[in-house]
């Protein structure tokens, strides 16, 4: 599991339905912001990259997704420094992390409904 479900539950003050809703929102945000970030890197647009990654940062921290959060922080640092040298590599790794997180969400939601 690439995130801390208990941490998410703490953030929602123990509200499991809210946690479930937030996971579903995140799934959509992962896809949208990854697309935005990849386009930004391809176009060398640091501002757009920062915006896309910044959008993910607080949610990733909220759910305790440490590896993805660290990648997001590193990408945000790159965007801030206008140095996109390693951005595509980091973005590839972030994509894998977010895909794994999405799979984790599906698993958790499956457990919640059974």
């Amino acid at each position: 599991m690439q995130f801390d479900y208990n941490r998410l539950l703490t953030a929602t003050d123990g509200d499991e339905d809210l946690a479930k809703e937030l996971m579903m929102i995140l799934e959509t945000q992962f896809v949208d912001q990854l697309t935005n970030a990849e386009r930004a890197v391809a176009e060398g647009d640091c501002r757009q990259l920062h915006l896309a990654i910044h959008t993910l940062r607080a949610p990733l921290a909220t759910i305790g997704a440490t590896p993805a959060l660290e990648l997001a922080q590193a990408l945000e640092a790159l965007a801030n420094s206008s140095d996109l040298l390693n951005a595509h590599t980091l973005l590839g790794k972030l994509r894998k992390e977010l895909e794994q997180l999405t799979a984790d969400f599906v698993t958790i939601r499956g457990v919640m409904t059974t």
Binding site: D4, R7, T10, A11, T12, D13, D15, L18, E21, L22, I25, L26, Q29, E38, V41, A42, E43, G44, D45, L51, H54, T55, R57, A58, P59, A61, T62, G64, A65, T66, L69, E70, Q73, A74, A77, L78, N80, S81, S82, D83, L84, L85, N86, A87, H88, T89, L90, G92
Partner: protein, 501 residues
């Protein structure tokens, strides 16, 4: 003899002596009465010396007038020369600015397609390819990245040359800058099998005032060089305070790399200079990194020096150490050690999520549920995840919540309703939280009220937070959103009689 008081003559003459020589004289003739007879008394005074003096004076005057005319001519000529030099200087400055502007613009124009080339190459590399195609594309990728490095250096150098770099003096967290640098190199260092370590003296304060962006850029340049020129061993960043006044920050970046020969150390800070041609051929780069670093450090009124021993160390090469001394203002005497421990703990396996603000859950804050009953709260947040979480928590506290997804909508909502509290995100599309707050405060001045506005921000530095306060916000809470922090903040701004203990 009686002087009749009548001067009849008083004039210069030239008389001839018996020997034939001529003598200039002053002739005076007066009418006098001698024994009752009126007589004419004539006197002749030799004024040869006077005349000689007069002639010399006239000659000197003419000479001086000649000199004066000559000086005036020279002054006019010099003025023309100065004017021409000034013009030439202005032309040179203009040309230099034009050159720097051109380089900056061209670098920027090249960067954008280069990023596309690199990004797309990377995307193609993630598809199914033959071994040969993959090898070719990896060469394209590596060359593109090298070219981008060169362009970035030229862009920075041009900006400095054009005087477009402004040095800030703001309060910031030193550890955050150091960690950002570490994060940046984490992967590259790992790939090369190197160790990057940071040693921070416990006396180093947690927060200082200087320019965090430039400090970061300098460290990135120097550590980047160390990574580039080190094949084996480690790169060490040390941070200490120097001097009795403890206002000089001493940073040193040392490595176990190839080192710099003694004869090359003096020119390592020159533009486009590397240790030697072999270095350029083997490692590439513009040789601008250290130049840019030195220029930035000098703009920050600091110094940089380089040391590289001639003998070889046990590991790797002789290594290089760059020493930087920067004047900083210490804004908090709180030592670094507490932050350092936090980093050490996170590196020792603790969740680094704690570093961005999440702390273990404190005692339940459910006894504050209902604190917002009968109160209306405006939540301004564009991120759906954050908005839904915050709305749920605010409602749990009893608030009626109205939401806006950008600053413009927030201002409109604020003008058409009455709120007890506003929670405002900072970065939003259309209109950001700073502008929206300023407009709300302008509106309030005419309406004669003041509603607490709390920033919800992931911005970490005090300078960022100060910017929130400067925009007219009353307070701030950090993201990610935590119920206990929200509650603590709300208690400060809602009426105390509504707090249900």
């Amino acid at each position: 003899m009686r002087d009749l008081g009548q001067g009849l003559d008083n004039s210069d003459h030239v008389i001839r002596r018996a020997d034939g020589t001529q003598v200039p004289v002053l002739k005076s003739a007066r009418s006098v009465t001698i024994k009752g007879h009126e007589k004419l008394l004539e006197t002749f005074v030799d004024i040869s010396a006077h005349k000689q003096l007069e002639a010399a004076l006239e000659a000197r005057t003419r000479e001086l007038e000649g000199a004066k005319t000559s000086l005036e001519r020279n002054a006019a000529y010099l003025s023309q020369v100065i004017e021409r030099l000034k013009q030439a200087q202005d032309d040179a400055d203009r040309a230099n600015r034009a050159k720097s502007d051109f380089l900056a613009k061209m670098s920027h124009e090249i960067r954008t397609p280069m990023n596309a080339i690199i990004g797309m190459t990377d995307l193609v590399l993630s598809t199914e390819l033959s071994q040969q195609q993959r090898e070719y594309l990896l060469i394209v990728l590596q060359s593109g990245e090298n070219l981008l490095d060169v362009i970035n250096d030229i862009l920075d150098f041009s900006k400095i040359e054009a005087g477009k770099i402004k040095i800030e003096n703001v309060e910031f967290s030193l550890i955050e800058v150091l960690r950002a640098v570490e994060n940046l190199f984490g992967m590259r260092v790992k790939e090369k099998g190197l160790i990057l370590e940071t040693h921070i003296d416990p006396c180093v304060p947690e927060r200082v005032m200087s320019d965090p962006t430039r400090l970061r850029q300098i460290l990135v340049n120097l550590i980047g060089n160390s990574v580039k020129f080190t094949e084996e061993g480690r790169i060490t960043l040390r941070v200490e305070l120097e001097g009795n006044e403890q206002t000089l920050l001493h940073l040193s970046v040392s490595d176990t790399g190839i080192g710099i020969p003694p004869d090359a150390q003096s020119r390592i800070f020159d533009s486009f200079a590397q240790a030697d041609d072999t270095t350029s051929r083997r490692y590439g780069g513009t040789g601008l990194g250290t130049t840019i670093s030195r220029q930035l450090i000098e703009l920050m009124e600091g110094t940089i020096s380089v040391h590289s021993p001639a003998n070889t160390s046990k590991v790797g090469g002789p290594g290089t150490t760059f020493d930087i001394v920067l004047p900083v203002t210490i804004s908090q005497r709180k030592p670094f050690v507490s932050q350092k421990q936090a980093v050490d703990e996170s590196q020792a396996g603790q969740s680094s999520v704690e570093d961005v603000g999440i702390q273990p859950n404190r005692e339940p804050s459910s006894h504050f549920d209902g604190i917002g009953l009968g109160k209306k709260l405006l939540l301004v947040e564009d991120n759906k995840f954050n908005a839904i979480l915050a709305v749920a928590l605010f409602r749990k506290l009893g608030f009626e919540v109205v939401t806006a997804t950008n600053g413009q909508l927030a201002v409109e909502a604020y003008k058409s309703d009455t709120f007890d509290l506003v929670f405002m995100d900072v970065f939003m599309p259309v209109k950001d939280g700073f502008l929206a707050t300023e407009e709300i405060r302008d509106f309030e001045r005419s309406a004669g009220r003041h509603t607490p506005i709390i920033a919800m921000t992931a911005l970490a530095s005090d300078a960022d937070r100060q910017r929130c306060l400067d925009a007219g916000m009353d307070d701030y809470v950090s993201k990610p959103i935590r119920k206990d922090e929200l509650t603590d903040c709300i208690i400060k701004y809602v009426a105390s009689d509504s707090v249900i203990q």
